[in-house]
């Protein structure tokens, strides 16, 4: 029995934290955020050089060959520093390719992803962002072409490669579509969280053949969405911990009525509750990440519990972080507000708490 991280995983965490602290502290995050692409090509290349973009890609395809329990260590850190990048999208796409791609597809794309040359994104849902399989409505035509819009595709504007979900008759299917194929276009949507990008993937008569089809069915699609939940929840932990650190420090420093405000129970109890929630969704997340590779049958339940708990808790933490800072927390200049925006971004990603709690109830026999 060992529900903790190995020495190697601790080292990985230290390495990523140092890399982000040195290269992407808050002023840099704000700078990248304001750029149209929303990503720093230079830092993305450094991520590749550190092996982070190929972390879960097998060594034979240019990766490091590690597992999701290692990946979440990195994701906690990217969340902690609000690192703006298409890391979740690309890694999720890579993980799916590893599992569902044929030899040629893997050989073509995985080394490109690991080396930082290809940014990938997943375009799964239609109409709205509820991650139910019946919300995949885009259908392939009898001429084997796809025409339609995929909205709310994370990192659509900068991705070179898309994993696109669609219906083929009664079956669900997943295709690899490169941006430079004829009929592919994207537009970017501005949202309140400028450190995350989303957009629309527009497909106009894009041909699909065996060479770009992945081995996908409903079960595999559900697994993809569950892994997305895990990835987002991991970033939520890091970000929530930063809010707790910032706000705790502020509560120690800020003097009112002759004492640090952290002496008052109205403040300290809220911070204790935040600690309790972070500890809890951290445990839930670590277990969910472990199930991805080690106990896949448990993944849906464990991912839903983690994402449901985190969705509510992190949003409350974002609000509380701003509120406990008083007026300064409300200013654009102060960083805590960026985390509130991140919490709003994270809540609906791969399903909000209503969706996941409903799923937990169903899985639990109700």
């Amino acid at each position: 029995m060992n529900f903790g991280f190995t020495q190697e995983q601790d080292l990985l965490r230290d390495q990523v934290r140092r890399f982000l602290d040195d290269n992407c502290a808050m002023p840099e995050v704000r700078k990248i955020m304001k750029q149209p692409s929303g990503v720093s090509a230079d830092l993305w290349q450094q991520m590749a050089d550190l092996g982070l973009l190929g972390l879960i890609i097998p060594a034979e395809f240019g990766g490091v060959g590690l597992f999701w329990e290692d990946l979440i260590v990195v994701l906690e850190e990217t969340g902690r520093s609000l690192f703006p990048s298409p890391f979740i999208s690309t890694t999720l796409a890579a993980s799916t390719l590893v599992e569902l791609g044929n030899a040629a597809q893997k050989k073509k794309w995985l080394p490109e992803i690991a080396s930082g040359n290809t940014i990938a994104a997943c375009a799964i849902l239609d109409e709205h962002d509820c991650p139910q399989l019946d919300n995949i409505t885009l259908a392939i035509s009898s001429e084997r072409t796809l025409t339609g819009d995929k909205s709310f595709v994370p990192d659509a504007g900068i991705a070179d490669l898309f994993l696109v979900a669609f219906r083929d008759g009664d079956e669900l299917a997943l295709a690899l579509i490169a941006r430079d194929e004829p009929g592919v276009d994207t537009s970017t949507t501005a949202t309140m969280d400028e450190s995350k990008r989303t957009g629309t993937l527009k497909l106009d008569n894009v041909s699909i053949d065996a060479s770009n089809l992945l081995q996908c069915d409903g079960k595999a699609m559900t697994r993809l969405l569950d892994k997305g939940s895990v990835a987002v929840t991991a970033e939520m932990i890091g970000a929530a911990e930063t809010v707790l650190e910032m706000t705790t420090q502020y509560a120690k420093d800020r003097i009112q009525f002759g004492h640090p405000i952290g002496k008052y129970q109205g403040v300290k109890h809220r911070l204790a509750e935040i600690y309790l929630d972070i500890e809890s969704f951290k445990s839930l997340l670590y277990y969910a990440a472990w199930t991805i590779d080690q106990s896949p049958d448990e993944l849906s339940r464990s991912a839903s519990i983690a994402k449901a708990y985190a969705s509510d808790a992190f949003v409350a933490i974002g609000i509380e972080g701003v509120q406990l800072h008083g007026a300064i927390g409300f200013t654009a200049e102060y960083d805590v507000q960026l985390f509130l925006k991140r919490s709003k971004w994270a809540r609906p990603m791969f399903g909000d708490s209503d969706y996941h709690y409903e799923r937990i109830a169903a899985l639990g026999g109700l």
Partner: protein, 386 residues
């Protein structure tokens, strides 16, 4: 990460399961002599005081074995391994750590044999969360201490034979933590008056105890005079990873689900109600968080890292779950949820109503939720003390 059990651990789990298969008959088949028989058998296995050293008659079980034993017992809803509840939980560990050889030989076997009921005398009428300001006084007189004062909210006092209590033997020290002494007192001593207090569920489990010139031999002092605070803190910190509690909480969740399957909400089956489904799923998620927090803390213990105040996290989860789950059950049942145990027609024999009125037992005892939040904020987050 690794959630596998070693071969030895699996073998021990099997041993416990086999024992339960053989010795734990279904509820309806348990006769009047069952409990005495059960206690003798688990005592024979050295599972009572399972974490205690073998020298004092305990089981010498390691952390993982303790967890496995608790899990299996809870899973099968086995009765307690001993009926000397406070003795096994707090008093025994205190005596093992601070007691004289004579005290160990005198008290520990009786605790393990469920011979006497113990209670613990901490709170006083004006002394609750701020325990160190206690005022019940003991004065040394020859070979005895003479106690005067009162203790209140003393759980199990109406049924107890002994009390392990804190008294003030010295008022002169600046620190209120100094000058407190721990005494083991026989409850039929002259000058003791026990007044049971009825709780809101109608049960009289706790009491106020009055001490009027009660003489206690000096050999019944636990630890040094004036150092009783240390003795208490160490026994209150006798922490567990709460694994057994989690198994019990999962049991309660299953019972709640069964209730939901029979109940109606807004004129429709409750199991189809969105709000009801969400509440149940929330409970499940919080219990699962408790389970996994417990496993993370257990891992720290196995690695030999000291557990600090993190266990307050699971205490808080447990407290809020006890309140919320029992209240939810009563709410779902509507008017029918108000019928208490003992009424023929009450749903599930009134279990839910009684539970909804009984949570303070676990929620208040051992530190209220607000005290747990203080502990987290001050000891973990380093915020200034009140």
């Amino acid at each position: 990460m690794d959630f596998e059990y070693t071969q030895e651990e699996q073998a021990f789990r099997q041993e416990v399961r086999d024992f339960l298969d053989k010795n734990l008959p279904p509820w309806e088949q348990r006769g009047p002599g069952f409990m005495a028989e059960w206690l003798k058998k688990v005592r024979g296995k050295c599972w009572v005081g399972f974490s205690w050293p073998k020298e004092v008659g305990g089981g010498g079980g390691n952390i993982m074995e303790q967890v496995i034993l608790k899990e299996e017992m809870a899973r099968r809803r086995a009765p307690a391994l001993g009926t000397c509840f406070m003795g096994l939980a707090w008093v025994g560990p205190g005596i093992i750590k601070y007691g004289t050889e004579e005290q160990k030989q005198r008290f520990i076997p009786e605790i393990l044999d469920s011979k006497y009921q113990w209670c613990t005398g901490y709170s006083e009428p004006n002394v609750g969360s701020d325990l160190a300001s206690l005022q019940c006084k003991a004065v040394r007189d020859g070979d005895s201490y003479v106690i005067n004062g009162t203790k209140i909210w003393t759980s199990l006092a109406p049924f107890a034979d002994w009390i392990s209590m804190l008294v003030r033997t010295d008022n002169s020290s600046e620190s209120k933590h100094e000058g407190i002494t721990s005494l083991l007192v026989k409850l039929d001593s002259p000058g003791i008056d026990i007044q049971p207090i009825e709780n809101m569920a109608g049960a009289s489990i706790f009491a106020q105890i009055f001490f009027d010139n009660v003489r206690v031999p000096v050999e019944n002092r636990l630890g040094e005079e004036g150092k009783g605070w240390e003795v208490t803190i160490s026994s209150l910190a006798n922490e567990r990873s709460s694994i057994g509690e989690v198994t019990a909480m999962y049991e309660k969740l299953e019972n709640l689900k069964e209730l939901i399957k029979k109940a109606r909400k807004n004129g429709k089956p409750a199991r189809k109600d969105v709000g009801v489904r969400r509440r149940i799923a929330e409970f499940e998620s919080r219990i699962e968080a408790m389970r996994l927090n417990g496993l993370r803390y257990l891992t720290k213990q196995i690695k030999g890292e000291p557990l600090s105040s993190e266990t307050s996290v699971n205490k808080l989860h447990r407290a809020l779950l006890e309140i919320d789950m029992t209240d939810f059950a009563v709410d779902i049942l509507g008017q029918a949820g108000l019928q208490l145990s003992g009424q023929e027609e009450a749903v599930d024999h009134g279990r839910w109503a009684t539970a909804a009125l009984s949570w303070p037992d676990v929620v208040i005892g051992g530190g209220t939720p607000n005290i747990q939040k203080n502990i987290v904020a001050e000891r973990i987050l380093g915020l200034p003390k009140d």
